[in-house]
Symmetry: C2
Subunit: 443 residues, 2 copies
Amino acid sequence: MDEVESKASEARIAYYVLANLSTESKNKALDKIAEAIWAKRDSLLASNRRDGEESRRLLARGDISEAILKRLQLDEGKVGGMVEMVKSVARLEDPIGKTTYAVELDDDLELYRVTTPIGVISFIFESRPDALSQIASLCLKSGNSVLLKGGSETKHSNKTLYEIIRDADTSLPAGWIQLVETREDVRSLLSHDDLIDLVIPRGSNSFVKYIQSNTSIPVLGHSEGVCHIYVDDLADLDMAVRVCFDSKVQYPSVCNAVDLILIHKDVAGSFLPALVERMETRNVEMRGDSLVCDVMGDRVKALADTDLGAEYLDYIVGLKVVDSLDEAVSYINRYGSHHTDAIITENPEAAAMFMDYVDSASVFWNASTRFADGYRYGLGSEVGISTGKIHARGPTGLEGLTSYKYYLKGSGNTVDEYIGDNKREFKHQPLGKAWMNKKHRRI
Amino acid sequence: MDEVESKASEARIAYYVLANLSTESKNKALDKIAEAIWAKRDSLLASNRRDGEESRRLLARGDISEAILKRLQLDEGKVGGMVEMVKSVARLEDPIGKTTYAVELDDDLELYRVTTPIGVISFIFESRPDALSQIASLCLKSGNSVLLKGGSETKHSNKTLYEIIRDADTSLPAGWIQLVETREDVRSLLSHDDLIDLVIPRGSNSFVKYIQSNTSIPVLGHSEGVCHIYVDDLADLDMAVRVCFDSKVQYPSVCNAVDLILIHKDVAGSFLPALVERMETRNVEMRGDSLVCDVMGDRVKALADTDLGAEYLDYIVGLKVVDSLDEAVSYINRYGSHHTDAIITENPEAAAMFMDYVDSASVFWNASTRFADGYRYGLGSEVGISTGKIHARGPTGLEGLTSYKYYLKGSGNTVDEYIGDNKREFKHQPLGKAWMNKKHRRI
């Protein structure tokens, strides 16, 4: 048994207890964890400085960028933010133990479908240490054990933060949170579909792609966010400029920023000059097809084949003229990544067509693509954004960390009674009540 | 582009149309398909006789069993059953276009989560041809395209049935249903996670296991159903005998039949003689641990290590004495397949403990394990029973063939307004309405 196997096995045993904790116990534990992080912030910041020193050596050698170095640095304000985030998870509604289906199958035979945790969740991240406390909190609130693996640039911070959470003054079952540290551990982890139920990766496209193609464990997340806006012939063009500008420049390095704008041919002549002028105020590099270049000249570069389906994560945007809404929809379904796509139009028919036929997790009408986010959607803290259609799709909150099970309460019922000549018939009557409260919880 | 690739691509294009069909169009198509199957029953029965002749040659060589040969044979009555099944899918509620979350994010910014199909579903089956018409109907009703691969023993029946459905007098988009026929096609199919969204296998344990471990496409189903009953010290012992007997002999060759019965030590002496006597009436082979054998002598064989976690699919059952409910729960979580497990007790506390701590898709109190089934659960026709916890768990109906997407309706909203000093706050008010009706449907 290697290290990952023993840690995942411990996590699975802890999960059986965690799955049945009361909401009160879980919230109390979250508050204790928040307190512990704040109380031990000096030790966390010291570890983070150590990461910083090692990373500066990597920076000097050109192995990492200044931006990465800056992103991994914590200060007291950022630790305060982490603490608030943990506390906010305590205030979220408990997703576990909810009855979502209740049917009387027959007299004295009642069926209930009740939400449960999933089991052991592995969170593999390249990003800042605050992702660790966020996902650990969300797993705890949803009754799941968690197996963490962070990036090597923040290994000291991750280890200290993990120890603070593990050792906080809670009555949680030992082993519910686990940390693995080496690359070999990741390989082992991805092979254990017998012990790990779900992997959540957070990092660069190539990192997420690597995870997705090297495990048979279900993965919740997305590698690419290739987002489009289609400016319809019946668009309010001032609105279109405003929404396109926000979708590109408000935060260009994230998955829900727009990558390519499709423009109906009838409005290209009037829309393009206004859009280009606005984009130029923030030095956005624009790449247009030949029709766009005809209108805008050398203010716009030429769009290459490699730009189709490209995710820029930068101040770059593609521009393309289309003959019709149908062409826009086909283009998006072919080149997009099924993440978030928007239409700007005053025509409700066109909006409905676009939104129904574009096969993406989020489809927007007259709004910035940047709204695609769990917090903005009112889902609470975001677990991730999924571009897959199985289990969870789009921005995913706590609900994405749940499964369910069926509780059947009988009175000695046998299936034999429902077979043959004098067989009983099922009633299948909705029951207007939830599965009973659980009074046996041990903690 | 190989054959699977071109067929799956055609299916994907058809899916974009299928996804947006009205309920009425889909139901009309189902009725037309049902009519076509009945009208062309002679041709289907002729193909089935050809399969029968080829299979009899295999039987003569000992390559297949008499039971398999019998199972694949169709007659007019069975075709009538298939037709009724297709019609019954038309009567099921349409799972697509349902608003499951509706929130006003801010003034004139409304978010709706609406159920959608998944895309292209592949159904790979070893079982009888009626599985083909069942899954094709369920995919159609849920707006999914379907790529079928049946067993070679019924290849003529499958092809004819596929052609009848494909050529029925409907206005469905060409390509929505596809058939592939060779083993090489299966290998190609399992590699195309870019074109196929979900695989549903139906067949033997080893067949399902092979599919699960040879694809990165999500798989809906289960390989094993290792089911347990725990007879508590506070059980009604007459009820326990009745339920155990039904769980074993009512239909032993299916996944939800009981494999091992755990008996609390305090009732073993009185329960075992009654149980064994009842099981002997149907010649059930019983295999007990040493305590059971002490009580029952050579009426019970010895339980071997290989019996722990075994799925018998036959008139065989394991018997084991335990010291406590806790031991029963631990045993089941270790050796079970998380399918269906039951407790027999008059003690509600014990029932709640058992049902909460046993980590299975279905947990029953005083009822036969044989109730674990989509039709009995009132879910309509069953797509499959999942022992995984991602997407769908337990008996799964039409809902398992759905995903969802987020519709956001704005008025030119930008994220920039929600950032900085004078930022707007989100309202996140529930909206008491559904996403608008779609009037643009093309068919």
